[in-house]
């Protein structure tokens, strides 16, 4: 879930490139909690990596400073800051755990403190793009190592021994020669006076001494609170005098309110006020759509009041958006040449001369995120100060946008980050926080804006809709000698700039132009497609349609040549090598290609691993089929095997899923497994049911009855996850998103194996019933 290098890049363009003037002072302010490391030390380098990542290029880069992230109290409690948002990936546990590991802190005496939005202080906070571990493994280790060194230095001084003779072990520093020990708490005050060591001189732990990292025995920090109802999500924030609001928004993107009649709403018990909510024209990034707000003493009354409103809308130009017609347009566009975005050899000539050409046109409709927690935010605006409580993936961006929207300085805005009840990219867009801020300002009282599920589905930032057309030319031996892939889809950039018709480099880089097959003649094209609603990044983004198309085509080629799917796939991947696509400014998830190349040896490895562990080729009962798919995304490599069973009525079940992931050096295998298990469910949901359609400019679905999700009784009976042990020094790569893309094509290949039916348009819906 990301936008080019980051979601705010276009925003920076608007402001003519933001000049980063980071005040060192503000970074040195420390945590402001008891005891601990505070101030008075040399400025640390903001970045010093063993391998290069794109972290430094994110807005505000990386801050490596123990005084910002760690505090030790005299009672020995170690507070570690989590500066990223927790939406279910476990990041709020994993990042502090890295610090604790390096620092030799005892995890049971660690408290995690959630950072508010402040990127000058904490560095970049955008929790998206499957980037947190990838960008922060080394910085968090350095922070922990620096803190440990300061504690060791303090103990050595106290004892009058050389620092080399002491060692931090499990929350104390020991001098083994004399048998002396001092707890972290006892050393806190002295350690705070130590200067912060230079990053270059830090000694990181030998991974063989890890107690927590790579072990996966630590539950998430919020586990107890979640199971007892105490965990605080956005909607759980309650302030004295707080009002409850819901907003009726234009049903068509870009529509405007013509008139409204509040009378019936005002008669609903508990409703206190009906007022217009300010909106912005489309497109305007994450600014609110506007409409009519109903203010009440509780959410139930506000919803009932809104139901009673009489509203007249002017739908505007997008009132004609119709998914049936639009799909035809995309299909037609895919059959004509488009902007060439990768060219190697001569695909046109090779296709003409091919012995056989296989054509597949694959369709993936709009999808809605429907995180279990609908968008919600609380705001308290007083004069030129604003405080926000919200489940946001972009605390820093939210702060920036709130300040801009209210016309107040950023320093006057506090963004408190609650837990997120799921994010999936929806909560990278802070429109709901802006709505709350605007209403609070107008009402002069704290306000909670709650989105209903219907609001979430009607007024979201949808996953794009796309046609991916692939033509594969085969020679007499069945070898693929030509590959033409046209991708037609409205771009996320259309939400930032009107008139966008081509996909952005970051979208092209998600499985189109970085396609890793060893084929002599390749043409990747991007015909034009205009947007008629708000498009946003959705977990895995363009990788969903791309993996679906490319990996389904592999299945089609296997069928056409009478070969095994896995063997066909490996033959297409070809020799172990570093793929260097002929693409100008190839987007590599914001990472340098040197550290994160497109490595077909790793791609092959996950295919081979999943085939071995997942028992590829095993005998399955009648009506069952196996399918395989592999995809590199977010600089990780993932292969999935799905076993499907389809009965005579076309009802499908999934007895077994096997997934192998190579995400480089990893931190918490237990959470990696949970992400992959979840990705299979999300993949199955979008494959079976996922479809948002428009008619007369309006979304036709409204809730979980017509935008269905997979439930427990249809979920795979078992999902096995295999993690590739990393070669030493392999940089960490993404986990949150890469699991989704290979699922749907593996399922389609399995369905073909089971039934002989090739499904090229998602969702499956009733296609198997005929």
């Amino acid at each position: 879930m990301n936008f080019i290098d980051n979601p705010r890049k276009l925003h920076s363009f608007e402001k003519n490139i933001r000049v980063e003037k980071v005040s060192r002072r503000s970074i040195l302010k420390g945590l402001g909690i008891t005891g601990g490391f505070v101030l008075a030390a040399p400025v640390m380098s903001r970045q010093a990596f063993a391998y290069e990542t794109g972290a430094g290029k994110m807005p505000h880069g990386v801050v490596v400073d123990p005084r910002v992230f760690v505090a030790v109290a005299p009672d020995g409690i170690v507070s570690i800051v989590a500066h990223r948002s927790e939406m279910g990936t476990g990041v709020r546990t994993s990042l502090p755990l890295i610090v604790a590991e390096e620092m030799e802190a005892d995890w049971s005496r660690v408290k995690v403190q959630q950072a508010h939005g402040d990127e000058v202080k904490f560095g970049n906070q955008d929790t998206d793009g499957s980037r947190s571990t990838r960008h922060y493994l080394i910085p968090m280790r350095q922070i922990g190592a620096a803190a440990r060194t300061m504690l060791e230095q303090a103990a050595a001084k106290r004892w009058g021994v050389p620092a080399t003779e002491v060692k931090a072990v499990n929350h104390e520093v020991v001098h083994s020669a004399s048998g002396r020990k001092l707890g972290f708490g006892e050393l806190a005050a002295d350690a705070a006076k130590e200067s912060v060591p230079s990053i270059e001189g830090l000694k990181l732990k030998d991974p063989k001494d890890f107690r927590y990292l790579t072990k996966g025995q630590i539950g998430i920090v919020d586990l107890h609170d979640i199971t007892t109802g105490k965990a605080q999500y956005g909607a759980d924030v309650r302030l004295p005098g707080m009002k409850y609001a819901v907003i009726a928004r234009p049903p068509v993107t870009g529509g405007k309110l013509t008139s409204f009649d509040p009378d019936a709403a005002l008669k609903v018990p508990g409703v206190e006020k009906v007022m217009q909510a300010r909106g912005w024209p489309w497109p305007s990034k994450f600014q609110p759509l506007g409409g009519v707000a109903v203010i009440a003493r509780n959410t139930g009354a506000a919803i009932k009041g809104r139901d009673a409103l009489k509203l007249v809308w002017d739908d505007g130009a997008n009132g004609k958006y119709d998914s049936v017609a639009y799909r035809k347009e995309l299909e037609e566009a895919s059959r004509k040449p488009g902007l060439v975005v990768r060219k190697e050899g001569d695909a046109d000539a090779a296709l003409k001369g091919a012995d056989k050409v296989i054509v597949g046109e694959y369709y993936v409709p709009h999808l809605a995120h429907v995180a279990m927690e609908p968008p919600v935010a609380v705001a308290d605006v007083k004069g030129d100060k604003a405080e926000i409580w919200a489940p946001v993936q972009s605390p820093g961006g939210t702060r920036e946008d709130v300040a801009k929207t209210l016309g107040i300085p950023e320093e006057n805005v506090t963004v408190n980050v609650t837990l997120l009840g799921g994010g999936f990219g929806r909560k990278s867009k802070c429109d709901y926080a802006l709505e709350a801020a605007l209403l609070s300002k107008e009402l002069g009282a704290p306000v909670k804006v709650q989105w209903t599920r219907e609001d979430d589905i009607h007024n979201g930032f949808l996953h794009t809709v796309s046609v991916e057309r692939i033509e594969a030319g085969l020679d007499k031996s069945g070898k693929v000698i030509a590959w033409r892939h046209r991708s037609v889809a409205p771009s996320i950039a259309s939400t930032f700039a009107a008139g966008t018709v081509h996909q952005a480099p970051f979208e092209l880089g998600m499985g189109l132009v970085d396609m890793p097959f060893e084929i002599a003649n390749i043409s990747c094209e991007n015909p034009e497609a205009a947007a008629f609603t708000r498009i946003g990044w959705f977990r895995s983004v363009s990788n969903i349609p791309r993996a679906f198309a490319v990996q389904s085509m592999v299945g089609e080629i296997a069928n056409a040549t009478g070969r095994d799917q896995k063997e066909t796939l490996l033959a297409l991947i070809g020799s172990p090598r570093i793929v260097k696509p002929a693409v100008k400014d190839l987007w590599n998830y914001g990472e340098p290609l040197d550290s994160y190349p497109i490595d077909t040896a790793r791609l092959r490895k996950v295919v081979e691993l999943v085939a071995e562990k997942g028992e590829w080729g095993r005998q399955v009962p009648k009506g069952h089929g196996l399918g395989i798919a592999v995809h590199r995304s977010f600089v990780s490599y993932i292969a999935t095997i799905v076993e499907v069973a389809v009965d005579d009525k076309g009802k499908l079940t999934v007895p077994r899923v096997d997934t192998a992931i190579d995400c480089g050096t990893y931190v918490n295998p237990e959470r990696i497994a949970s992400q992959i298990e979840g990705a299979a469910i999300m993949g199955l949901s979008l494959a079976k049911y996922g479809e948002i359609t428009f008619k007369d400019g309006k979304v036709q679905q409204k809730n979980f009855d017509d935008f269905q999700l997979v439930r427990i009784d249809e979920s795979p009976l078992v999902t096995n996850v295999y993690i590739v042990p990393p070669a030493s020094g392999t940089p960490p790569s993404g986990v949150g998103e890469p699991g989704v893309p290979p699922f749907a094509p593996a399922l389609m290949n399995a369905i073909f194996a089971a039934t002989g039916k090739r499904i090229r348009a998602l969702p499956i819906g009733k296609q198997l019933e005929a």
Partner: protein, 150 residues
């Protein structure tokens, strides 16, 4: 004036008797453990136990529970150590956690009714509760663990 017992405590409400119990719990009584996911009895996030039965509080009015006993996630066990809660922690079920209060209440109600459900019975009884994060495999395992100890 409607009287209802919530987690053992007498509460009263003199507002709209048709107010969904969900919003009474969350916004009026301050019990925010019960979650809003759909408002239409489609997701189970708002599940509470009324007397001995799991109900969707989003479509149950305060009036419907007048004189009855409502148990929310906050009141399931004084220390949060109900066997279902313990099993949930042992299996590391949650991802984002938002659906889990509803899942746990549904599972607790299931075990009251059927202390040793089969895997199919678990899948059936839990099928009204959506988890968008996809924790189903672990939910199934945790309910099984809570009922059998293994």
């Amino acid at each position: 004036m409607i009287k209802v017992k919530i987690n053992g405590q007498e509460q009263s409400w003199d507002g709209d008797p048709n107010l969904p119990l969900l919003w009474f719990l969350r916004d009026e009584a301050g019990l925010t453990g019960t979650k809003f996911g759909c408002g239409q009895a489609l997701c189970g996030a708002c599940t509470v136990i009324v007397d001995k039965e799991a109900v969707r509080s989003c479509i149950t009015s305060v009036n419907d529970v007048a004189g009855r006993e409502v148990t929310t996630i906050e009141g399931l066990h004084p220390n949060g150590d109900h066997p279902v809660q313990k099993a949930w922690r042992q299996v590391n079920v949650p991802q984002c956690g938002f659906c889990q209060a509803g899942q746990i209440m549904q599972a607790a109600a299931l075990l009251m009714d059927n202390p040793k459900p089969s895997h199919d019975q678990i899948r059936e009884a839990m099928s009204g509760n959506i988890c968008r994060c996809g924790c189903y495999q672990r939910i199934e395992n945790a309910v099984h663990l809570a009922s059998t100890g293994v």
